[in-house]
Amino acid sequence: MTGYPVPASSRGIIALDENACTSCMLCARECPDWCIEIDSHKETVLEEGARPRVVHVLDRFAIDFGLCMWCGICIEACPFDALFWAPSYDHAATEPAGMVHERFDLRQWLSEVPPGTP
């Protein structure tokens, strides 16, 4: 983050904890702006002494901040605490496609999330 200092609790951008995300699609369905795109696939996990179980593996998680209106409904909706507000705010782009941030961008902002954020 650069430029003017803002409080750590600012609603600057949305960060994603990929390890907490279960690809449940709830955020994408609740989003009023349709700005969250999620792709995932199923994998069967085989563990000794346990029955095979199917898990969802995240392939793509993208938020189009050109559509986002910073309402925070996705963060409220997430049952697994995978989405957080991060204070970073300088995300201007020279073209609309530059406003789409993929999971690797969203993950990097996780380090800015203030501790103790619910």
Binding site: S23, A28, C31, I36, D39, S40, H41, V54, V57
Partner: protein
């Protein structure tokens, strides 16, 4: 004409600050026009409502009570297609060539019809899985159901 009389009475009783006027589309029950007034002395708010039908979407104007209601009524006329008796509502927000009233519930949002809803995918699915026909798929709110 109790709408104008009630707003006038509320203003004369101290609610002298006209905050806003807007409308709610109640679909089969017509439209509700809502007006919020503020009493700066008593620090109380007054929400006044009136109704009109869809077929005769007209209510009396409040511009005689609060001149500032003019812009709000012009916006409501644009966005809800409600007429105001006694007020020639010049379009405020929409271009003259615009057809329809975008805040009516039956107004079709073209962008929502043209684009694939990201929530249509189930957990464990990607875009390619949407090509597979399925009896039940999650549907977005606020869009028309095209199924027969």
């Amino acid at each position: 004409m109790t709408w104008v009389a009630d707003v006038t009475a509320a203003r004369d009783a101290g609610a002298v600050f006209f905050d806003f006027l807007t409308a709610v589309d109640l679909e089969a029950d017509g439209f509700e026009v809502v007006c919020r007034l503020w009493d700066p002395q008593a620090r109380t708010e007054h929400l006044l409502r009136t109704r009109c039908t869809r077929t005769h979407a007209r209510v009396p104007t409040l511009t005689g009570v609060f001149a500032g209601a003019a812009w709000h009524e012009r916006a409501v006329a644009d966005l809800f297609g409600i007429g105001f008796d006694g007020h020639d509502t010049v379009p405020l927000l929409l271009p003259a060539s615009f057809e329809g009233h975008p805040l009516r519930k039956d107004f079709v949002l073209a962008a929502r019809e043209a684009r694939q809803w990201p929530g249509a995918k189930d957990p464990g699915e990607s875009d390619a899985d949407l090509a597979v026909p399925r009896r039940r798929r999650a549907k977005p709110l606020g869009t028309r159901d095209w199924s027969p």
